[in-house]
């Protein structure tokens, strides 16, 4: 890898600012860490600004197909200014942010969409895991509303395990507006409640569904709750007060996909 260009100090400084939300918003770029996530970014239609490798990364990706992307080498110490984890595996991509226009999504909706909305989900690991789960279940699109953590947060990106590059994640939306638009298009609005909702196993998923999950501590906001057509509850057999929101998403999407298959 000695043929690789060295990343200049100025470039490193500029990219390391992308660890901060403020600069991600100004520069409209973000950091992707680790072999798998970088591989998924490269295989997608997202635009890669640069690839950055440490000498010892031992990356197995064949970069010969990506000659148009500048590849730089950096030291392990320099890597630490870009990565907030020990698991970057010495490989990082700087990727351009991408918008999914809402109008285009509505126009191209499949006949039986399943949409997932997050209303103020605050933990980055939860948001990333939910996007990964939505990708597993082939969900049409994910909406991040309320004060849901920023999609380009490094921990969110890492927790998606590359799924960020597979499905549309729509951000900077007013979840109420989106819910109203969905309703006007005949899509059923479904929320989850810890108790007294329709038990999940008895719930027959509608042809067109928009399932909304709320904040880890406070659940769905009252304004969204009011617009819901159905409220579902995952039956409890033991003593925990609640389930983790990421786990709930998995259980509910499994039921939805199963019931349709």
């Amino acid at each position: 890898m000695n043929h690789l260009k060295k990343l200049s100090r100025a470039q490193l400084k500029s990219y390391s600012k992308l660890t901060l939300k403020k600069y991600r918003q100004i520069e409209r770029m973000f950091i992707v860490e680790g072999e798998r996530s970088v591989h998924e970014a490269l295989s997608s239609d997202w635009e890669i600004e640069a690839l950055i490798l440490t000498e010892g990364s031992g990356s197995l990706i064949d970069y010969s197909g990506y000659k148009h992307i500048p590849i730089y080498k950096i030291s392990e110490i320099e890597l630490k200014t870009l990565s907030d984890t020990v698991s970057s595996q010495g490989i990082i991509a700087i990727v351009k942010q991408k918008d999914f226009p809402l109008a285009k999504l509505w126009e191209n909706l499949p006949p039986h969409p399943i949409l997932v909305g997050l209303d103020d989900v605050s933990d980055p690991g939860n948001v990333g895991t939910i996007i990964r789960t939505c990708d597993w279940y082939g969900i049409t699109a994910v909406f991040l509303g309320g004060n849901t953590v920023e999609i380009y947060n490094q921990k969110v990106v890492r927790s998606t395990m590359g799924s960020l590059f597979h499905i549309p994640v729509i951000t900077e939306i007013d979840i109420i507006d989106v819910v109203k638009e969905a309703r006007s298009r005949g899509i059923n609005i479904i929320t989850t409640v810890v108790e007294k909702g329709k038990p999940l196993p008895e719930f027959q998923p509608p042809e067109k569904s928009f399932i909304i999950f709320g904040n880890e501590a406070h659940g769905i906001s009252p304004a969204v709750k009011e617009l819901a057509d159905s409220r579902i509850t995952i039956p409890k057999y033991g003593n925990a007060e609640s389930l983790n929101v990421g786990v709930s998403v998995g259980i509910i999407l499994h039921h939805f996909c199963m019931s349709r298959a």
Copy 2:
């Protein structure tokens, strides 16, 4: 709260060492943070060494029923030496570790047990979330084997959301020995595989089940795999390479409990 004793410097220093695994193992105590988790610890039969509050904690717990437990006040700055999070809500319990003897568990096994084993699950948030999920589904016991992260790790404890105090979590075991013992007692050993296992919806849960989940990156160890009676797979409808292990646990336990109800 002015009547509360001030925690001495020596005591604070001693308790703050419990943020390290080494000292947790020597002292056989651990730190529990936050209103809900402390409440669950107090309501359980686990022994509380001390309660520690900041002046501004505004804790709603009625401590009058716990007169035998020493309650101390500390400053916000002192709190930081005990808590690795901003969400301790100014309330901490120092709790004595508790062993669940394996022999006792086998003797008192219910007629239709569901046991869950973790074989080398490394992320503290995953382990905590799995214990919480097992509590929701009323699982008989959870076994932490392989190099699964230590149960008294602060992030594990926090992620259990108090469920640690509800169900037996058995640690310091050789998962192979436990699996063999379970088999000898007529318990079915079930593992999960990302593909080519029996599809979960078609899988009829046995009367006595021991479901084992493996490492986030490498899955189940070959030695455990060999002892499995069944391998199940969660059907995929999209593109993610895998599901988060905590999410998989939720989907599978939901299926097991549902199929029996």
